[in-house]
Symmetry: C2
Subunit: 262 residues, 2 copies
DNA sequence: GTTCGTCTCGTACAGTGTTCGATTCCACTC
DNA sequence: GAGTGGAATCGAACACTGTACGAGACGAAC
């Protein structure tokens, strides 16, 4: 049993002396295609066409399409940097990292759909998490808390940007400018939330703002909450509650319950 | 131009008197299929087979496959409840909602891949957000801040659970028990992070915990941060910084920049 | 010149979402 | 009961998809 875990990063890459096609070219072309036309447009045949080669030639350099997705995802991680120590407080560094990550996701809207298909083990992802761990280590977090702090921020960023992107996609598809999107969507919302007058009243407020700045404020709100919460934990210090009982609240479902599909 | 926005929820459903097939049956069967075999297994032909009908018969009740995904997503939203007012503090309510949401995602691991394909406008999603907005209104948040608070929590939950699910998927595929997963993955990590000794040292700590409780601690850590951060904002009160300048920090990229694909 | 690994690629297979037109079925009117 | 019309189902077909397989092409080593 126990078929071992496999990923692009666990296999040795093919020798780099390939003349016409290389893993790097494939990844670059795939990112271009994804950026230009979205996730659905990435097919092996179209990728081959863009590379000026047959579709099945790609399979010599890559095991399957999922591996390409692993590679392009790591390519995006490569665009991210963590501000070096000394030149900024950890709060500023965390803020600017989160903003840079959001911008990177906006440049490559397909990444949110690729994240979650497989764990990120590429070199860029690895060295990025190392730099982030060091950042929070310098901030004063210890042990696993460093890892948790990194995860909290990156999870939040991917989590918020995902719905942001679906609204952007709606705007792009319908051709409505983002400044008019909220107003244009009002009839839809009135229909859909017809028997929720309180909700409609809240939505009416949205007309005063354009979508982009509203989403930006939304992003900043949650990010500030998280960083304030991290700061609070830091201020409580090592004399705070021991790990495992760090939050005194009821846990409705056992966190360890496992309903993973067979 | 301006092709208007369309969604299942903007169209009138077909008359409910269908004898052998109904939208409800389709959705229920689709959820069963998705839970049992995952997102890739959901095809119109397999869904039709499960319903004892032809694949194309489904198109009478539903415009296309994406609409089915909208419907099943809202079905999952229907499993979530928000604790009523009075019986708990907003902190407790927010905690228990977040935990319930995580559990619901674990029961339906495919939802994280469906979220983000389209905005959630189904009746269950609508009434859920209304209840959440009321919760934070009672907590003391005003105006758009209520919306931002809801978004912060739900975004975090979807964001953290996504990588949790990919590790669960690895465990399921390789047949490795979650208590042994961290140890089993160590060789892979040693290969992948060979030139990052600091990172490897950190990963070595993981062997003392099993994946599930480590992930649960991770989830609780970030959730506590967020709720503490919300609390802090509440404590700062209305005499705090005005909206729009609520966080004094450099914003590396203009938040309103729009790189959406054409 | 032959042989061997590297690399490309055409063909083929099973499967996908969706369109279209034909067909069945049922409630209704005359 | 016969006839009509819409609701609903479904088979065939189309243009795709990812990928396995095997036949070739290329260059270097012997």
């Amino acid at each position: 049993m126990n078929q071992s875990f496999s990923s692009v990063w666990t296999r040795e890459p093919r020798t780099a002396k390939s003349p016409t096609l290389s893993r790097g070219q494939i990844v670059r072309a795939a990112v271009e295609l994804l950026d230009a036309e979205g996730l659905e447009a990435l097919s092996m045949r179209r990728l081959g066409a863009r590379l000026g080669s047959g579709a099945t030639s790609i399979y010599w350099h890559v095991a399957n399409k999922d591996e390409i997705l692993e590679l392009v995802l790591d390519e995006v991680y490569g665009e991210l940097t963590v501000p070096d120590n000394g030149e900024a407080t950890w709060r500023e560094a965390a803020f600017s990292f989160a903003y840079a990550m959001r911008q990177a996701i906006f440049r490559h809207p397909w990444v949110t759909r690729v994240i979650g298909t497989t764990p990120a083990l590429g070199p860029n992802a690895i060295s990025l998490t190392e730099r982030m761990l060091n950042l929070f280590a310098r901030a004063g977090f210890q042990g696993l808390d460093r890892d948790y702090a990194v995860s909290t921020i990156t999870s939040y960023v991917t989590g918020v940007t995902t719905p942001e992107l679906s609204w952007k996609a709606v705007a792009a598809k319908t051709g409505i400018d983002s400044s008019e999107l909220n107003a244009a969507l009002l009839p839809t919302l009135e229909k859909v939330a017809a028997d929720h007058p309180g909700l409609l009243a809240q939505y009416a407020e949205f007309n005063t703002l354009d979508t982009d700045t509203m989403r930006a404020l939304n992003f900043d709100f949650g990010l500030t909450c998280i960083i304030d919460g991290l700061q609070a934990r830091l201020d409580r210090g090592a004399d705070g509650p021991p790990p495992g009982s760090r939050s005194a609240h009821p846990q409705p479902g056992s966190p360890a319950r496992d309903d993973a599909p067979g």
